[in-house]
């Protein structure tokens, strides 16, 4: 056994850049400079401008074209810092965090990584082929101690088929989008999202009301995003894929190591399944904890919302004896297992 602690780097998804994240980018950092130049050339507000805004404007900042690259670059900058302070043995990302993981592990270089996130965000601005933008809805799956609540799971499963409420309601299209351990995320077209909001029994958890529609988020990681994946395959045909320099774990829980990764297979997954099938963050975390045995979880910014999800992953696994929210919070007070870098 080597002496160095094994760090698991956890990268958040697109909704992570929030009001408190303003001002986190260093405008002079070469990556920020390059990103700003590219966005300027494309006629878009620069990331420095967005990050330097006096106030957070949800209608603006949550637009995919802004939120995605902001989140991506903020997380990537944290990942760079994390790598200097820790032995990062493995990287997982949630949703868009997968694209950050590709860049953080050098499977994509900065330029190609930025091109990928920017192109993805551009495509996500457009309406769905079937009309409307669709959306995502979050619903909890655990109780106050972060233990699975079977009744909530039953409701969530039934929501896909339209049987979650008192009466069947099959309006629109709904798919599972992501499994976030303590929460499930549905993606649907506009009618499907409306139906979920109508049909899922309202409840309050962690100070928030559910079902919760995620602001300006489309039905990513569902078949409704298949056209985005197809367009990305065409539009990103020229970017260069390499083996990652650290093990990364994807949204199916597959480990991609620095030694055996076939870059073509990595490309095929990213520009295919990643966008059009559910992102199993729960599985990714489970694989990371069990197969990589991290001593510490390092959660990059922006934001800190994923810290609770990391805690729920630890509870789900009983990792290092953490079997409840109380266990997790106690551990965090004494010898934190999850280090949050974001704000």
């Amino acid at each position: 056994m080597t002496g160095a602690e094994r760090g698991l780097l956890v990268l958040p998804g697109r909704g992570a850049y929030v009001a408190t994240s303003l001002g986190t980018l260093d405008p002079a950092h070469p990556w920020v400079v390059e990103a700003d130049a590219r966005r300027r050339a494309a006629g878009l507000a620069t990331l420095s401008e967005l990050d330097g805004a006096a106030t957070f404007e949800p209608r603006r900042h949550f637009q995919p074209i802004h939120a995605a690259p902001l989140t991506w670059i903020a997380a990537l900058l944290d990942a760079e810092r994390a790598a200097t302070d820790h032995h990062v043995a493995c990287v997982v990302g949630n949703g868009l965090g997968w694209l950050t993981a590709l860049a953080a592990s050098a499977a994509l270089d900065f330029g190609d990584g930025f091109a990928a996130v920017q192109e993805l965000a551009r495509l996500q601005q457009a309406p769905l082929p079937s009309g409307g933008h669709g959306g995502q809805v979050i619903y909890p799956l655990v109780d106050g101690e972060w233990h699975p609540d079977p009744a909530l799971r039953t409701i969530a499963d039934a929501a896909i088929t339209g049987d979650a409420g008192a009466a069947s309601d099959r309006a629109g299209v709904v798919h599972l989008s992501a499994d976030l351990i303590g929460y499930t995320t549905f993606g649907g077209d506009d009618a499907g999202v409306e139906r979920l909001l109508r049909q899922l029994p309202p409840l309050r958890a962690g100070g928030r009301r559910y079902p919760l529609r995620v602001a300006l988020q489309g039905p990513d990681h569902t078949p409704l995003a298949g056209h985005v994946a197809a367009a990305l395959r065409d539009n990103l045909a020229s970017i260069a894929w390499a083996r990652p320099q650290v093990t990364i774990i994807d949204g199916r829980g597959r480990r991609w190591t620095p030694w055996s990764t076939d870059p073509a297979a990595l490309r095929d997954y990213t520009l295919g399944e990643w966008l059009s099938t559910p992102y199993r963050f729960d599985t990714a975390m489970r694989v990371a904890l069990r197969e990589e045995a991290p001593d510490r979880l390092i959660l990059t910014g922006p934001g800190t919302a994923l810290a609770a999800v990391c805690g729920q992953a630890l509870v789900a696994e009983g990792y290092q004896g953490i079997r409840s929210r109380q266990d997790f919070e106690r551990r965090q007070r004494t010898d934190p297992l999850v280090l949050s870098m974001g704000s």
Partner: protein, 747 residues
């Protein structure tokens, strides 16, 4: 030479990697190691290094008594190339040195956690996803690896049975998740290749091939040249299996890419031809048989070092670098990272909970779901039965054409075959002949040779076919022609079939109803081998159900109960049919027809716990018996009444395992005097022992308890049988002794 060779071998790997020079040219990332192949060499090496690290972790944890299993895969890591080339939909029955195979197979299943799962098995944690902490076995539901301990090659007959049943199951609409070109793999060592079960499995596959029946199985003999301390004679495996008709032999040895190519060829042959192949994989064994094996007791230090020098990890590292598939630095990084994560994961696994209570341990052994069984019996869809029985339903027949035991079983089998399309009936002479005693007469004609068929003459293979068919979702009903023949194959029930739910924590099951013609009293015919009266060996198997009908109507109803229990509880049910009663018509006197019964139509059924009660109003004495003993007891009861004025109630146990103890205790408490009539051997650990012990421990019996039993002997030929078996005189004498005794009676 130090005793602990683990650090020596680990250091040798480090030193070899450190000494390797960078290749002159590097293959592109993701390119196969050799042109035209699909070999991802670094993936294979990752799997091999991971398997090795798990072996090391098991021994490290053992030092602090936190692991319980140190039989490793070290030296066998080239089996990763087999795991990599087979599909998750190719059922795999693996032996215990299959670590690298499993790591490679898990690579095909995103989200799997093979390293941690293995560690949970090693530390016997209740979270072990394979056995739930009951044994360290290679297995996975998602990866189609049914677990077994595999120590004596007893998994080969069922592997062959699975291959034999693949096409049949598919045609019958069962196991549809397996593709049409799926094949089965079974691995074992060179020493294990000598086991009778290994030879039976291989022989049966060849036999099927000779008949032109598909039996797509890849036998993998991982030849490390040693069975614990005994060397396998040089060339023994190729001498024995290298030139057998109906078995393609492929040698896999040498460099990683050569092993890959040979394996690809063997798998391709089986997949293409649907015929068996024998892949002879060269391996070595590092670190002894297990952690407790002191290799120095039987090998010289030089011999040990010579084997270590042939470590496949060293061989493969050199080859990868020579062909430009990896740099030494990359291989060093793989080894470092793998060791690091495995040792930390081992510490985590060792903290995970273990099984603590009896209830936890036995939960999957004998699931008891009476409500589901009852529902299954009620809801089975009816079929149009008139066509089955040539226009006249068996229940409509009445004396003098009422049915014998054999007739009722025959009709019940027809009913079950008709209403359960997944049911198979097979064994020696079961098909065309209709059974030695005509019990299966006409069934092949009515239900076809795909469902009712003759097998080769080997009980081990018959039970292997049953297990394989059951693994695929069929409901096998194999027939063992005589109870005495079952003992030859008993471990197929004990070590394999009955243990599957236990070792897989209920994830795999092989429900079956094994019809066994047995017990004695064939009027002087046959001697021991056709009159065996030993049931102790069956009752000793944990979780098994043993049914022993005596009358035709009971047999039909019990058969339905047995089928429902097999299906709902996944149990192995022995249906022990008393041969001597198959065609018996009379009870008290020639021509009285007292042993003929009408046929109870479906869904009428009996389940364990339900006893037969004769003369319920009688209360001078309770006679407890079963099978032939029941008929003798009823005859004795008649004599007791007529000759002595004694009223004896007679209980038919019907079920020998589990015993119907609740009913038994109630009747015994009510009557007070108990006589057990046991046609099996006095020292056989038999029914009388169990019944009396239970009543002593659990019932308030105030009267005497006694028994009559068969003598502790093999059953002789001819009239001498009566000298060892229980007869009515003996029962009457014992009964009179009981009713005249004052032992234990309150004043």
């Amino acid at each position: 030479m130090t005793f602990d060779r683990v650090p020596i071998v680990e250091s040798a790997l480090d030193a070899t990697l450190a000494a390797l020079r960078d290749p002159d040219r590097l293959l592109p990332h993701g390119a196969p190691m050799t042109p035209g192949s699909t070999l991802s060499a670094t993936a294979a090496v990752e799997d091999q290094v991971l398997s090795r690290a798990l072996d090391v972790a098991a021994r490290e944890l053992k030092k602090t008594n936190r692991s319980f299993y140190t039989i490793g895969s070290a030296g066998h890591e080239d089996n990763a190339v087999i795991g990599a080339q087979l599909r998750l939909s190719d059922p795999a029955f693996l032996h215990y040195r299959s670590g690298a195979f499993m790591m490679a197979r898990a690579r095909q299943l995103p989200g799997s956690t093979p390293a941690f799962d293995t560690l949970l098995g090693i530390v016997a944690s209740a979270e072990d996803p394979t056995s739930g902490g009951r044994h360290k076995v290679w297995g996975s539901r998602a990866m189609w690896v049914p677990p077994q301990t595999s120590t004596i090659a007893s998994h080969l007959p069922k592997a062959t049975g699975t291959a034999f049943s693949l096409g049949r199951a598919r045609r019958m609409g069962v196991s549809a998740e397996l593709p049409a070109d799926a094949i089965v793999v079974a691995s074992f060592g060179d020493a294990s290749a000598n086991h009778a079960t290994a030879l039976a499995g291989i022989n049966t596959a060849r036999y099927a091939a000779r008949l032109g029946l598909p039996c797509p199985i890849l036998f993998v003999c991982e030849d490390n040249g040693t069975g614990i301390s005994v060397p396998t004679p040089a060339g023994w495996i190729v001498d024995t299996f290298g030139a057998l008709p109906h078995l393609a032999y492929v040698r896999a040895a040498g460099e990683l890419d050569e092993v890959w190519a040979a394996t690809a060829s063997a798998i391709g042959h089986v997949r293409r031809t649907r015929q068996p192949a024998f892949l002879h994989l060269a391996t070595i064994r590092l670190w002894g048989h297990a952690g407790s094996d002191a290799e120095l007791a039987y090998r010289t230090p030089n011999e040990i070092a010579a084997v270590e020098a042939r470590d496949p990890l060293l061989k493969n590292a050199r080859r990868l670098v020579a062909l430009g598939a990896a740099t030494p630095a990359e291989l060093i990084a793989i080894v470092r990272d793998t060791r690091d994560r495995v040792m930390r994961a081992a510490e985590e696994a060792a903290q995970r909970p273990r099984l603590t209570t009896t209830a936890e341990v036995v939960a999957p052994l004998a699931p008891h779901r009476p409500a589901a069984v009852a529902a299954r019996l009620r809801t089975t869809p009816p079929v149009d039965r008139t066509g089955l029985f040539d226009g006249q339903l068996p229940e409509s027949l009445r004396a003098p054409t009422a049915r014998t035991l054999a007739g009722c079983i025959n009709a019940a089998l027809a009913d079950e075959l008709a209403r359960r399309p997944e049911l198979l009936l097979f064994g020696e002479d079961v098909g065309r002949k209709g059974g030695v005693y005509n019990v299966t007469n006409g069934l092949q004609r009515r239900f076809g040779a795909a469902r009712v068929f003759d097998t080769l003459l080997d009980e081990t293979s018959i039970l292997g076919i049953a297990q394989g068919a059951a693994h695929l979702g069929l409901l096998p009903m194999p027939e063992i022609q005589y109870l005495a023949y079952l003992h030859n194959a008993l471990d197929q029930l004990r070590g394999e079939a009955a243990s599957l739910q236990f070792f897989s924590n209920g994830q795999f099951r092989n429900p079956m109803v094994v019809r066994v013609a047995g017990l004695a009293y064939q009027k002087g015919f046959g001697g021991h081998f056709h009159n065996d009266n030993s049931v102790g060996a069956l009752r000793d198997i944990p979780g098994i159900v043993v049914a022993a009908p005596s009358r035709g109507d009971d047999a039909a109803r019990m058969l339905r109960g047995a089928v429902a229990i097999a299906l709902e509880e996944g149990r192995v049910v022995i249906f022990l049919e008393p041969i001597a009663l198959y065609h018996e018509k009379d009870l008290y006197a020639d021509g009285d027809g007292g042993w003929l019964t009408s046929y109870p139509a479906p869904p009428d059924a009996l389940v364990p716990g339900e006893v037969g009660v004769h003369h319920p109003e009688a209360s001078d004495l309770l006679i407890v018996s079963y099978a032939n003993g029941l008929r003798l007891s009823l005859q004795a009861a008649r004599r007791l009444r007529d000759e002595h004025g004694v009223a004896a109630r007679v209980i038919d146990l019907r079920w020998l395992a589990p015993l119907p103890v609740e009913a038994l205790r109630a009747h015994a408490a009510e009557v007070g005097r108990v006589l057990v009539v046991d046609e099996c051997r006095a020292t056989g650990g038999g029914i009388a022992d169990a019944v009396i012990a239970d009543l002593v421990e659990h019932a308030s019996i105030h009267g005497p308890m006694s028994s009559v039993r068969a003598v502790d002997s093999f059953v002789p030929l001819g009239t001498a049988t009566s000298a060892v078996l229980v007869g009515t005189d003996q029962i009457v004498t014992a009964a009179m002794a009981s009713v005249t005794s004052t032992t234990g009676l309150r004043a």
